[in-house]
């Protein structure tokens, strides 16, 4: 909680969307990386009948 004074320098109307937007972009990048570099995530989306 020692970073609170960032809001004395960065306007919250700019800093908050920037911060949350960056978290969103990073999340999309990581999900994309896992989707394109594993076999099991695409397989999950492909789906198939449950083996008895």
């Amino acid at each position: 909680m020692n970073q609170a004074r960032i809001w004395l320098v960065v306007k919250p109307t700019v800093g908050l969307p920037l911060f949350l937007g960056t978290v969103l972009v990073i999340s999309l990048l990581i999900h994309g990386a896992v989707l394109t570099h594993t076999t099991w995530m695409p397989a999950f989306f492909q789906g198939h009948a449950k083996t008895p």
């Binding site: 909680m1 609170a4 004074r5 960032i6 004395l8 320098v9 306007k11 978290v23 099991w40 999950f44």
Partner: protein, 55 residues
């Protein structure tokens, strides 16, 4: 009204917030990050259990 806030010694520029306002805002940012963390840990646990990841 505008002159009052501009001369207020508690307000810090460039954003013009007071330290108390900045700390109140940041408390919510930190709380949000904690909730995000808990959800992320749970999601990673589910991924570990139900996907071939790491085993």
């Amino acid at each position: 009204m505008a002159d009052d806030t501009r001369d207020d010694p508690n307000r810090v520029w460039p954003t013009g917030l007071t330290i108390r306002e900045a700390e109140e805002l940041h408390k919510h940012v930190i709380d949000g990050a904690r909730i995000f963390f808990v959800i992320a840990v749970f999601a990673h646990f589910l991924a570990y259990v139900y996907s071939p990841w790491l085993h």
